[in-house]
């Protein structure tokens, strides 16, 4: 359910958003003038076929990709930021401060231990108590005993839990997840999803998730179907 305090206050506003990929002379429009708002504390699901543009939309909201056209406005405690007008460095710093990202293939850094992976965003920000914060979050995701293990020694579910801890360690306002259970078996996927929802809902964070899975969509506040570059509200 949508949290009541967030109903009237959109944290992400996108308008006329277009994303066109070029391959030689050929272009392919994946997002075609999307306009939508996402609210604080809500869990939004982006549903659609492979290649429909779910990941592209997440990447644009995270600022790891730039739109071909349109605006992405993000409400921060101090200001409203037009993400598409930021410089590359500003977008990076914005991501570092406000966004947590969970990937389908975990994307943990293989040369770093579990605790180092989790503390990495804080370390990059120059925070002093990074190790401590990471360790406590690892406790929260049930991996307090594996802090000094390397990612390749963990199961898929454990790796995704580390990735979730890494995405949340710097206390971002938004969590973006791209098929976070897509690479896990059903049971592990369910446990990871539960963990993700528990941690985001408890902290009142906005979670935008791209997924194929209808059972996940059922648990979302709102569900959008992406098709033909358009965003169609299915639920909510």
């Amino acid at each position: 359910m949508r949290s009541s305090d967030a109903v009237h206050k959109p944290l992400i506003r996108i308008s006329g958003l277009r994303k066109i990929y070029w391959e030689g002379d050929q272009n392919h429009t994946v997002l075609d003038g999307i306009t939508e708002e996402f609210y604080g504390g809500e869990f939004v699901c982006l549903h659609g076929k492979s290649g429909s543009g779910k990941s592209s939309l997440l990447n644009l909201i995270a600022g790891i990709d730039a739109p071909s056209d349109g605006d992405i406005l993000i409400q921060t405690p101090d200001d409203e930021i037009a993400l598409n007008r930021l410089t590359e460095r500003e977008r990076t710093l914005f991501r570092r401060d406000h966004i947590g990202f969970v990937f389908q293939f975990f994307n943990l850094i293989p040369t770093l231990t579990v605790v180092e992976n989790v503390s990495l965003p804080l370390n990059l920000m120059g925070k002093r108590d990074a190790h401590k914060s990471a360790a406590s979050l690892l406790d929260a995701v049930g991996l307090g005993e594996r802090t000094n293990t390397y990612p390749d020694k963990l199961s898929g579910g454990e790796q995704q839990r580390v990735a979730i801890a890494r995405a949340l360690v710097h206390n971002p306002r938004f969590l973006l997840a791209d098929e976070p259970t897509g690479n896990l078996d059903a049971e592990t996927g369910e446990s990871v999803l539960s963990l993700l929802l528990r941690l985001t809902r408890a902290a009142g964070k906005t979670l935008v998730m791209a997924t194929h899975a209808t059972e996940i969509a059922e648990r979302a506040d709102r569900v959008f179907h992406i098709d033909g570059g358009k965003l169609n509200l299915q639920k909510g």
Binding site: D65, T92, F103, N107, E116
Partner: protein, 851 residues
């Protein structure tokens, strides 16, 4: 065909990596070709020029420093009736109107020439128009020049050439030009002036003497009879030798020098092999999925192996062909350097053309392809391990590298032991160089273990906690890709250790020579006639000049020297310096001597020889042994009373002037050394001497300091080519690091995307790359320092001693080592600039999409 197409596709898919591969091979091949062309051109120029003047002569009658009496020729021709004989005067002159270039002046007797040098065109002299033939025969100071020289310098018949021999100047009138259809002959004519024998005798101040008498002896049993008959009329100071032996002996002189150059020219290709390994290894990793699919549809392991090798061969051929072009370009610079060194150290040689022989080019191309194939062997084998069902992961290769680390290290120790065992016995110099290569390969094989050790140290919990996160990541990234990073580090290490080794050797050598010169050059002023090259022997000092010096105000003493070449039994031509006093005095350092300085000097004056170290080493002679020299009074044994340190490349002996004059009929002097009276300013005295001699005698008058500077200038010139070669190897190593970084980066694209998505800035990424490469450079530098020291020790105490017979004192300067470390670090950091920039340009979203 399909294999080739697959290989070709592999090449095009990674243009930058392929380019690095090609550049690595091409520089390696270019260095080999440049040095080989320079060496062979210098040899060929000498051989052609010698062939032209030797002609069809099978034997030569030669004498001592003064030559052979003219009467010997007349006896052979008249008394023995031996018509196939021709008198020759030959020497180098400086021709002012030909830009001061050295030309070989050949004085001939035209009537005797026909059987000898027909191809040279002298036969055509009989076909010259009557006027020019008469002029050549009858008029003094007339000469013939080659048509190509006449065309190049626009010299017409009737014009004069001003030539210089030592202090003396002469004018020769051109009476005709010699042309030839044969390219070889045309080339040999480029540095040849032909005069009548009488003119040549006058030019070289050899009236009544001949340089040699050329003979054509039948190639049958009657040869021995003819030889005996001719020998019976020879005076004691003359002897017959075969033309080939004499020619071979001169070429032999430069052999060690050329071999040293060739060995260093191979270095870039050795370093390039590491680069090749990395590139091919990367190609295999990147295409592991494709290889897996190919295996699944039935490609055999052998075919996979062939495909990867074909890919390396395609790039190897491209690199080698490019290297051929580059080598030819570089050879133009190399030939200048080699010729300068040969002129400075060995003999006068005028190399005007590069001889591009197909053999050299083929050798370069083959070596390039072989190096490419060897570098590709291990990755190609790795490719065959890709199973059809599971793809070969980078981590699998790294795990395998780690598992085989022990064997790699054992291989390293074995290579080191092999190297040491090849270095210790006094085998052929080529094998000694192979020993050096084995030592370098040994250290390279130990590099991964060293790097693992460093990573393990940095990985200790204590250190890990204290290092910043980027530092931790950098160390572990290097360790994670050990198979790749250790190869780049090893290549850089080899290049840098060679820089350290060669710098220490050159530094030690220079300092040893500098000290030696300081001790040796005890006089204040040195005077000699101008020479065409530093190596030219036999120039003559005007006797009037000597008289002037002896009576010149402010001069306390005059020492003289006569420097000539003489025949020594079993050694061929060696240099002989006959001296009136030892200008080094008690500062002359003997490696061994019959007693203290005074005792040795007494023994020397009593007829003993002081031999230089190159002679003692090369011919295994020590004090008490005798050397038989061919004097004008016949062969005479001389006892060795001292072995002196000397840094000449040529074996030589020193003899008392009085003893020399008693055995050789040679009244001339080569140089003088003056000692000024106390309180006299040397520089002022030189100015006075020069002003007195101005316009009368052309002499080189130098202070002790200037002569030393000149000698050190020769030294620096000689080593400039070695420095250039090692720098090119460092360039290849640099490309190796660049290539390794680029491939590591490509492999980590997705990881970099993840890092960017969680907020790592471009600056932090650049810092990470710089840290990684900085660490790689630092490790290479750290290993290169002791390796360089070992290499320097080998170069100083083994290679130099065996090549040239020099004892050098090793001089270690901290700057040489710190500089090497800085070179390794900076080249690694420079190599990281482009990858760091590229990494920053990478779009996180695109990077994350990368499989």
């Amino acid at each position: 065909m399909v294999l080739l197409r697959l290989a070709w596709g592999g090449v095009w898919r990674r243009p930058l990596q392929s380019l690095f591969f090609i550049v690595g091979v091409s520089i390696g091949v270019a260095m080999i070709i440049a040095i080989d062309l320079a060496n062979s051109s210098a040899n060929r120029a000498f051989t052609l020029s010698t062939d032209a003047v030797v002609g069809k002569a099978t034997h030569q009658i030669v004498g001592g420093p003064s030559g052979v009496e003219e009467g010997v020729y007349l006896r052979i021709r008249r008394e023995l009736g031996y018509r196939n004989s021709a008198p020759i005067i030959e020497g180098y002159v400086k021709v002012k109107s030909l830009d001061g270039q050295p030309m070989r002046l050949l004085g001939v007797e035209s009537f005797a020439e026909r059987p000898f040098r027909e191809e040279l065109g002298t036969a055509k002299m009989t076909g010259l128009n009557q006027t020019s033939f008469s002029a050549f025969m009858a008029e003094p100071n007339t000469a013939l020049i080659g048509a190509n020289v006449s065309d190049e310098y626009r010299l017409a018949i009737g014009e004069s050439l001003e030539i210089q021999v030592g202090s003396y100047h002469h004018k020769l009138r051109i009476v005709d030009v010699i042309a030839s259809e044969d390219r070889r002959i045309r080339r040999s004519l480029k540095d040849l002036l032909v005069t009548d024998i009488a003119t040549a005798q006058e030019v070289f101040d050899r009236i009544g003497k001949l340089e040699r008498i050329d003979l054509i002896l039948p190639d049958d049993p009657s040869n021995t009879v003819a030889l005996k008959r001719i020998e019976s009329v020879l005076p004691p100071g003359a002897r017959i030798e075969s033309s080939d032996a004499r020619r071979g002996a001169v070429i032999e002189m430069t052999k060690a020098f050329r071999l040293n150059l060739t060995a260093l020219s191979l270095l870039a290709l050795v370093v390039g092999m590491f680069l090749i390994y990395n590139t091919v290894s990367f190609s295999v990793i990147q295409r592991r999925a494709v290889i897996g699919r190919l295996r699944a549809i039935g490609m055999t392991r052998r075919e996979v192996f062939a495909m990867i090798l074909a890919e390396a061969a395609v790039l190897g051929v491209a690199g080698a062909l490019l290297g051929v072009g580059l080598g030819i370009v570089l050879s133009r610079g190399a030939i200048g350097m080699v010729t300068t060194s040969i002129n400075d150290l060995f003999f006068v040689s005028n190399v005007s053309e590069i001889d591009i022989t197909s053999l050299t080019l083929l050798k370069g191309v083959l070596l390039g392809i072989v190096a490419a194939a060897i570098g590709a062997l291990i990755p190609a084998y790795e490719a065959t391990r890709v199973s059809p069902v599971s793809t070969l992961q980078r981590s699998a290769i790294e795990s395998r590298t780690r598992r085989s680390l022990r064997w790699i290290s054992i291989g390293g120790v074995a290579a080191l032991s092999l190297g040491a065992s090849m270095l210790l016995p006094e085998w052929h110099l080529g094998l000694t160089f192979l020993g050096v290569l084995a030592v370098l390969v040994g250290v390279a094989l130990l590099t991964p273990a060293f790097m693992r050790g460093c990573a393990a140290l940095a990985g200790t919990r204590w250190l890990r906690r204290r290092l910043p996160i980027l530092g931790n990541m950098a160390i572990r990234d290097i360790d994670r890709a050990l198979s790749r990073t250790s190869t780049a580090v090893a290549a850089l290490m080899i290049a840098v250790s060679v820089i350290v080794g060669v710098s220490v050797m050159i530094g030690s050598f220079r300092m040893t020579v500098e000290r030696w010169l300081t001790d040796l050059l005890g006089a204040d002023i040195f005077i000699s006639p101008p020479a065409i090259a530093n190596s030219q022997m036999g120039s003559r000092l005007d006797p009037d000049a000597l008289k002037l010096f002896e009576t010149f105000p402010g001069i306390a003493q005059v020492a003289t020297a006569r420097s000539v070449e003489v025949d020594a039994d079993g050694m061929g031509r060696i240099t002989l310096s006959a001296i009136t006093r030892d200008i080094a005095g008690e500062k002359r350092h003997y490696k061994s001597a019959v007693g203290n300085h005074a005792e040795t000097w007494n023994a020397f004056q009593a007829g003993g020889l002081i031999v230089n170290e190159p002679l003692a080493t090369r011919y295994q002679r020590s004090i008490g042994d005798t050397i038989i020299l061919l004097t004008d009074k016949g062969e005479n044994p001389f006892e060795i009373v001292g072995v002196a340190y000397d840094y000449d490349v040529r074996p030589g002996v020193m003899m008392s002037d009085a003893v020399y004059r008693s055995y050789w009929d040679d009244p001339h002097l080569s140089s003088a050394a003056l000692f000024v009276k106390l309180g006299v300013d040397v520089d002022e005295k030189i100015v006075e001497l020069k002003s007195v001699l101005a316009g009368k005698l052309d002499l080189i008058i130098r202070s002790n300091r200037a002569l030393r500077a000149n000698a050190l200038g020769v030294f620096d010139r000689t080593f400039s080519i070695f420095v250039a070669l090692q720098m090119l190897s460092a360039v290849v190593a640099f490309i190796g690091v660049l290539s390794a970084l680029m491939s590591l980066q490509l492999e980590r694209t997705r990881e970099i995307g993840a890092l960017r998505s969680i907020g790592i800035t471009r600056g932090q990424l650049a810092k990470l790359t710089l840290l990684e490469t900085g660490l790689m450079g630092a490790i290479a530098g750290v290993i290169a320092m002791p390796t360089g020291l070992v290499l320097a020790t080998i170069l100083i105490y083994i290679i130099n001693l065996r090549s040239f017979g020099w004892t050098l004192q090793m001089q270690l300067q901290p700057s040489q080592f710190s500089l090497a470390f800085v070179v390794a670090l900076i080249s690694a950091l420079l190599a990281s600039i482009y990858p760091a920039w590229r990494m920053g340009q990478m779009q996180p979203a695109e990077a994350l999409r990368t499989e």
